[in-house]
Amino acid sequence: MPPAEPVAAVPSDAALIAAWKGGDEQAAAELVRRHARALARFLGASGSGGRGDADVDDLVQETFIRAFRALGRFRGQCRFRTWLMTIGGNVLKDAYRKARRTRVVPLAEELRDTEGDPHEHAVAGEMEARLAAGLERLPRMQREVFLLRAQQGLEYEEIAGALGTTPGAARVHFHHAVKRLKEQLA
């Protein structure tokens, strides 16, 4: 039986951050590859600044750029991915502000989605749209706690560390968010 090949060590986020600070561009690229999709899901669910899915790419880029600029302030109070999402929240806030100034008419859902069963898309899409609308109406803290918990599956301690609050308060925000969203989806 041939000896097993050694498993290549996967560098931690902390190691990649240190390497980027030392000038290693590939470390930054690896951080983007590792977290971009999760961030896109978070931003897409948060409404993508009122600009539609197509612009999630821009928001993801902008979030990473701001994160790399601010890496000196990242003290490991939470995971890098969680911290990234809080920065994404700020990017979204700015995008909303800009969208209000320059009103963009989003493409109709049926024009954006051309694959799969149209009926299934319509049913699933309607619930998702209602949830997305409900999320947009929530206060920012409730929305972010809800998404970090329900969508990203984070623990309250982690969420509290990222959002600068206590686990107990994060739990309360989550329950308020759930209550309000259920009312809106009923």
Binding site: A40, D57, F64, A124, Q151
Partner: protein, 135 residues
Amino acid sequence: MNDDQLEKLAQRLGARAAERLDVEATAQAVIERLRAERAAGERIGSWLPRQWLRIAAALVIVVGGGAVALRIMGSSHQSSASAPADLDGLSTDQLKQVLEGVGESGGEAVVSVQDVGLDDLNTVELRALLESLEG
């Protein structure tokens, strides 16, 4: 709708955006922007010290010169206004002392740059400052 259904629905939100994201292109775009920012930062870093020195020197000249001129003009106004009334009765030695005093007050009119800001400059001084910066 129960909590599980809500969570499942939340997990689907944004999934399409995540699937559509071209991760590699995003990584490259981010790296390009970071590279451009670093290069711009280095350019500014080499430009700033020289420009700041020039600006500081121009400020010292304009602000200091302006303050001295103002002080001299102010004292000459005062002297000329009071001369007919006060100087007639003075002896030659006393007049010499007055003149020395005027000279000394002119010499004291050096103003620290730290005490003076752009708000303290009048239109002419600001224009002179701008011209010196352009030149």
